[in-house]
């Protein structure tokens, strides 16, 4: 039981971390008023970029950086039209998702062939923290993990400080709540939105890189598996707050990991119900039954708004 629980926690963290990373980025983007449903495209680009980068340089750490850059590159395809040309956020995001999934699969097959051969990719090794990793049950799940996991845990408080304690953070939030007032106060609305959206895609690329180099150990077509969309749900359930997003992302990861625990314990309850559960809770949060999740007021709206 202890072993199963420990394995469950570890799996929950492993599955939750890419969601938290992508969702933290999306949170910053949405705080500035930019709803990026093209996040999936950045995640899958991050995954492929990290694999190609790690194979080319032989260094998984460089691979992670290249993956994050690839996410940012795809993010440009979203943020430039949305912020500077005022194209619709939802439709541009849809196009970027299709472009990312199709483009990466096309590049992957062109480079490695259609058969899905096992790639020899340098893996991102785990970093074991002495003593702490020996704590029963939670130790291995939290303190014997990839460096990207520690980075994720560090990012939540950092972003909390940034958003709520710094001038820049205040400006980002102002732009997402009332861009007209922000502009009247002299803030560069578009530049702030552009920066926030790009930061979001950088983290999405990082999430994809983690997925490829620290979790799966390879690249497969569609390996992002809808995580870009799940991250949007995580932001809502986390109520657009860093700690909330961290907890919500791990919760989604745990729900995903539960199927393995149920299998180990031999309990034949439909795990799919548990997969649906986090979404239902997110909807409940939106409905105001558990707390009140309120989106930034200008979320999804173009600026300036012409008539």
């Amino acid at each position: 039981m202890i072993v199963a629980l420990s394995a469950f926690l570890a799996a929950g963290v492993r599955l939750g971390v890419p969601l938290v990373l992508a969702a933290l980025g999306e949170m910053v983007s949405e705080r500035a008023g930019v709803l990026n449903i093209g996040l999936e495209g950045s995640i899958i680009a991050g995954a492929l970029g990290s694999v190609l980068g790690a194979m080319a340089t032989g260094s998984p750490a460089l691979g992670i950086l290249i993956g994050a850059a690839a996410g940012l590159l795809v993010g440009l395809a979203f943020a430039v039209p949305v912020v500077w040309l005022n194209t619709d956020q939802i439709i541009t995001g849809t196009a970027v998702t299709l472009l990312g999934l199709g483009g990466t699969a096309a590049v992957y097959t062109a480079r490695f062939g259609a058969t899905g051969a096992q790639l020899d990719v340098p893996q991102l090794d785990r970093l074991r923290i002495p003593v702490l990793a020996d704590i029963p049950v939670i130790g291995p799940a939290l303190f014997d993990v990839a460096p990207t996991v520690y980075l994720t845990f560090a990012l939540a408080p950092l972003l909390g400080w940034f958003l709520f304690r710094t001038e820049w953070g205040l400006e980002v939030r102002a732009v997402g709540e009332d861009p007209d007032a922000a502009a009247a106060a002299g803030l560069p609305v578009r530049r702030l939105r552009f920066g926030a959206a790009l930061f979001g895609t950088l983290l999405a690329g990082l999430a994809g890189a983690h997925l490829a180099l620290a979790y799966a150990g390879t690249f497969t077509e569609n390996m992002s598996a809808g995580r870009g969309f799940i991250a949007i749900a995580v932001v809502v359930l986390g109520r657009w707050r860093p700690w909330g997003v961290l907890v919500a992302g791990l919760f989604f990861g745990a729900a995903d990991a539960l199927q393995y625990l149920l299998q180990t314990l031999g309990w034949d309850i439909g795990y799919q119900l548990f997969l649906a559960l986090p979404y239902i809770l997110t909807l409940a949060a939106l409905g105001g039954w558990i707390g009140r999740a309120r989106a930034p007021a200008a979320l999804g709206l173009p600026w300036p708004r012409t008539h």
Binding site: L35, T87, G102, I232, Q272, L275, A276, Y279, L299
Partner: protein, 347 residues
């Protein structure tokens, strides 16, 4: 609402073909061979046209109409995928239970059930949007995942085939399946139904008061109030539910016409491709017939392009994406106005 200028669709398709050709050439593929295979796979024979292109266009046509209807009224229904699953499950269940009855009874009952289920799946986002202005993009997107997981659970549990081995349901009884439309091919009568609905929707938009009001609501609540002193909330709710119903119908039609049983991954993302289908049609129901067939053809032709010229099937996604980008470019500069809190709108 976002609508490209009249030349937008032609520009978008041209752009997609041009960019694809250049990219394929850079990738070292034989471009004439690839595009030739794409064409032949889509339109090269009676089988290609009916059993592949047109058959694949049916769910895209129905979900495309659902999206076009919603977007016209300024409602961002991104949930056609989930509504399709709800309709598929409801339609299958009615067909399975009522399989002993004659087809003339069972088929209409299935289709009716799928309409109701699709609308029911859109009900929560509708209420949320009207009550507090909660962004329907997020609620409909979330419900897609709920629908997909619940469907997987039903197929793995209560609805699983009697042996309990395979991850699928038992097949539908003969009387609960749709007949063939084009003899000698796989094209089922669902295609005719979908085309008829497109015409009906076009007539509604073009010639009826309700259609006029829907378009007015899409231009912004102010315009609607001025146009006819309508209760734009009630009208929006009706449109949202009808959009869900149409997407639900797509699910039942696909199950009764093609799959003949329920499978966990029954949709290949049609509810999302539907957005591209509707936009390329400039949200015009009649044009949706053409764009659904276009995307059906790309998907059918993509398979043969992979087989003949070795071009990965993933290129189909790229072509779709570039088409959407082309539409976006062609829609640039159109005037836009915002709607209620949180709802992204552009008119």
């Amino acid at each position: 609402m976002i609508r490209a200028r009249w030349w937008g669709p032609f520009f978008a398709i041209g752009l997609a073909l041009a960019v694809t050709s250049v990219a394929l050439a850079l990738g070292g593929y034989d471009v004439p061979q690839a595009l030739g295979a794409l064409w032949r796979g889509a339109f090269g024979s009676e089988q290609a046209i009916a059993s592949f292109t047109l058959k694949r266009s049916v769910p895209l046509l129905l979900t495309g109409l659902a999206v076009a209807l919603a977007f016209r009224a300024g409602i961002w229904n991104i949930g056609a995928e989930g509504q399709l699953y709800a309709g598929a499950v409801a339609g299958f269940t009615v067909g399975f239970v009522g399989g002993g009855l004659p087809a003339a009874v069972v088929i209409p009952a299935m289709l009716a059930a799928s309409l109701v289920a699709g609308a029911a799946w859109a009900a929560f986002p509708t209420v949320m949007k009207l009550r507090g202005g909660t962004n329907e993009v997020i609620t409909t997107l979330l419900l897609n995942f709920v629908a997909i997981h619940l469907t997987a659970w039903l197929i793995d549990g209560p609805l699983q085939e009697p042996q309990g081995v395979y991850n699928e349901t038992a097949p539908l009884p003969e009387s609960a399946t749709l007949g063939t439309l084009w003899p000698g091919t796989d094209l089922h009568v669902g295609f005719a139904l979908a085309v008829a609905l497109a015409v009906v929707l076009w007539v509604v938009f073009r010639f009826t008061r309700v259609g006029f009001l829907i378009r007015a609501v899409g231009e912004g609540p102010e315009a609607a109030r001025i146009a006819g002193r309508v209760d734009s909330g009630r009208l929006s709710a009706g449109v949202f539910l009808a959009s869900g119903a149409l997407a639900g119908l797509a699910g039942a039609v696909h199950v009764a016409g093609v799959d003949l049983a329920l499978y966990p991954g029954l949709s290949q993302g049609w509810g999302y491709t539907a957005i591209a289908v509707a936009l390329l049609a400039r949200l015009n129901p009649l044009a949706v017939i053409a764009t659904a067939i276009f995307f059906g053809a790309i998907q059918a032709g993509g398979t043969s392009m992979q087989r003949v010229a070795g071009v990965p099937l993933a290129w189909v996604n790229v072509i779709e994406a570039i088409t959407v980008i082309g539409v976006l470019i062609a829609a640039r500069g159109r005037s836009r106005s915002g709607g209620d809190a949180g709802a992204p709108e552009a008119a």
